[in-house]
C-alpha cells in the first residue's frame, strides 16, 4: 500500500508540524528570490547613483540607498544568491569529503576507522570559526576560499553522523541477506547501507546550510569572504556599521535577510527531524 510507506508517514508528520512548514515556506521564498533576482530587483545592485546617496526608505527605494547611492533592496535581493551559494557549496564540500570518510570508517571499522576518526578529531580541536578564518587567511580572502574553509570545518560532523548510521544499519538482517546473496562491498554500501543513512543526513544538511550562510556572512563581515562590490549580506552589514547613526537602514535589511534565511533552514531541519523521528520531539 502506497499510503503507508515510511516516506508517506514522514511527509504526513511533516505537514502537521507548524515549525517545519514555516521553515519550508521561508526556504522556498529564499530560493525563489535568489532564482528571480534579476526580475525582483528594481535597480542594478552594483551601479552607484551619487545623486541619491544614503536616501532613507522611499517609494523609489523601498529599503533606501547606501553610501554611494546603490539601491539596498536590489542588493539584498542579489545578496540572496551569494548566501544560497554559500549554504549549498559549503554543504557540498562537507558531503564530498565527509560522506565517503564516514562510510568507509563505519563499514570497514578497525584500524581504518581509528585513523579516520583520529584525523577528524584534529579538525575538531580547532574552534570552527578560527579554523575557517585561518584557512581563508592563508589561501587569500576570496569567497571561494572562505566557502571551502567552512566546508572543511563541517566535514567531521558529516563523517561522524554517517559513521554512526552505518554502524547501526550494517547490523540489520537485510545487509546480512544481501551479503549472503553475494553482493560486493561496494554494492552493499551504496545500494543497501547508504539509502538508510539519508534521513538523518537530510536533517544535518538543513542545519549545516543555515550555519554555512551564517558563517559566510560572518567571514564577509570581517572582510575575509566575499569582496566588494559583490552584494553579500555580510559585506552590506559591515558597510552599514559606519553609518549606524546616520543611516541605520544600511544594516537593518541585510541583517533581517540573514536572520530569515538562517531561521528558515533551522526550522526546516527541526521539522524534518520531528517528522522522521517523533520520539526526538522536544
Amino acid at each position: 500500500m502506497a499510503g503507508t510507506s515510511l516516506t508517506a508517514i514522514a511527509l504526513a508528520q511533516f505537514r502537521r508540524s507548524h515549525v517545519g512548514l514555516v521553515g519550508a515556506v521561508l526556504v522556498c521564498a529564499f530560493v525563489l528570490v535568489a532564482a528571480l533576482a534579476p526580475l525582483l530587483s528594481p535597480y542594478d545592485p552594483v551601479s552607484a547613483d551619487f545623486a541619491n546617496v544614503l536616501s532613507p526608505p522611499t517609494r523609489a527605494h523601498p529599503f533606501g540607498t547606501d553610501d554611494i547611492g546603490r539601491d539596498i533592496l536590489s542588493r539584498v535581493v542579489y545578496g540572496s544568491r551569494i548566501s544560497l551559494q554559500a549554504g549549498l557549496f559549503t554543504v557540498a564540500v562537507a558531503l564530498c569529503i565527509g560522506l565517503p570518510l564516514g562510510l568507509v570508517a563505519g563499514y570497514l571499522g578497525g584500524r581504518v576507522d581509528n585513523v579516520i576518526m583520529r584525523g577528524l578529531e584534529v579538525i575538531l580541536s580547532f574552534p570552527g570559526l578560527v579554523l575557517a578564518l585561518g584557512i581563508t587567511a592563508v589561501l587569500g580572502p576570496k569567497l571561494i576560499h572562505a566557502l571551502f574553509a567552512i566546508g572543511v570545518v563541517f566535514v567531521p560532523n558529516f563523517a561522524r553522523l554517517i559513521r554512526a548510521q552505518v554502524l547501526s544499519v550494517k547490523e540489520h538482517d537485510f545487509v546480512a541477506a544481501a551479503r549472503a546473496l553475494g553482493a560486493s562491498d561496494r554494492r552493499l554500501v551504496i545500494l543497501h547501507i547508504l539509502p538508510n543513512c539519508l534521513a538523518p543526513l537530510l536533517v544535518q544538511c538543513s542545519f549545516s546550510v543555515a550555519f554555512g550562510i551564517l558563517t559566510e556572512a560572518a567571514l564577509s563581515f570581517l572582510g575575509m569572504g566575499t569582496q566588494p562590490p559583490t552584494p553579500s549580506w555580510g559585506i552590506m552589514l559591515s558597510a552599514g556599521r559606519g553609518y549606524l547613526e546616520q543611516a541605520p537602514w544600511l544594516g537593518a535589511f541585510p541583517g533581517i535577510a540573514i536572520f530569515l534565511a538562517v531561521l528558515g533552514f533551522n526550522l526546516l531541519g527541526d521539522g524534518i527531524r520531528d517528522a522522521l523521528d517523533p520520539r526526538l520531539k522536544t
Binding site: 583520529r118 584534529v122 580541536s125 574552534p127 570552527g128 578564518l133 541605520p248 544594516g251 536572520f259 538562517v262
Partner: protein, 306 residues
Amino acid sequence: MLQLIGRRLLATVPLLLAVSVVVFSFVHALPGDPAVLFLGEEATTENLARFRARLGFDRPLIVQYGDWLGRALQGDLGRSIRTNQPVTQAIVERLPMTLRLIGFSMVISLAIAVPLGIVSAVKRNSGVDLASTFFALFGFSTPNFWLGLILIYVFALLLRWLPASGFDGVRSLILPAITLGTALAALVTRQLRSGMLEVLRQDYVRTAQAKGLADRMVIGKHALKNALISVVTVIGLQIGALLGNTIITESLFALPGVGRLMIDSVFSRDFFVVQGVILFLAVGYVVANLVVDILYSYLDPRIRVH
C-alpha cells in the same frame, strides 16, 4: 577518578601534536611560498630570498617544524613581523580581556537561560514557555554581528546608556557579552527545558512528590541537578563557538583581546602572530574540552564506570 584524568591527559598528547602539525603547515607546508604569504605577491625575488634566509624558510620542513615545536613548547611562538613583539607576550597581554568577555557572557547567558529553562519546563505550554521558545529561535538564528549592531544602535547611540566601542571598565563589556552570549543562552534554555521535561517524568521525581516534598525541593534538588548534566554538555560543545565568536565580538566592539589580535594580524599579513593565536586557541579549546569531560564524569557517575 585520578586514573580517568590521567588516561584522558595521556590521550590528549598525540592530539596536540597533530594540532601543532596542522598549525605549522598553515604557514610552511601549504602550496605557495611562505615568503610570498608574508610579503605579498608584489615582493621582488631579491626581497623574498633575503626574507627566506633570515627566517630560515630555506631549511628542510622537518627541521623547521622541530625547531618551531621545540620553541613553542618553551612558550616561544616567534616574534611579530610588524612590531617585533614576542607573539606569546602579545597573546598574554590580551588574554585577560578575552577571558573576561567569555566569562561575563557565560554568566549573563546562564542567568537568563537557567530560570527561563526551568520555568518553561515546569509550566509547559504557558506564556513563558512560548516566549522562551521564541527567544531560543531568535537567539539561535540571529547573526551575532547583527545583534551587536542592533545593541550598539539602541543602547549606545539612541539611549546613550553604554559605550559603543573600546574598553573603559566593566560597563564596556555588557553589550559585547550579550552579543556573544545570546546564542548560548538560547541553546541552554532549550536543552534545560527538554532535560527538565525528561527528568520530571521519572519515577524518582514522582516518589519525591508523593512523599510530600515541596515543589521547590523536588524541582530544585531532584530534577534540576540531573537536568544540569545535559547543560554542561551543551556548554562544552559551545566553547568552540564562543572562542571563535570572540573574534567577531572583539572586532565589532573594538576590544583589545586575542580575537582582535588575530583578525588584525590577518590583515597586516603578520602570520607568525596568526599562527601563534590559532595554536593558542586550539590548545585552549582542547584543554577546555578535557575539563568539561572530567567535570561531566564527575557529575554523572554512570560515565565513570565505562
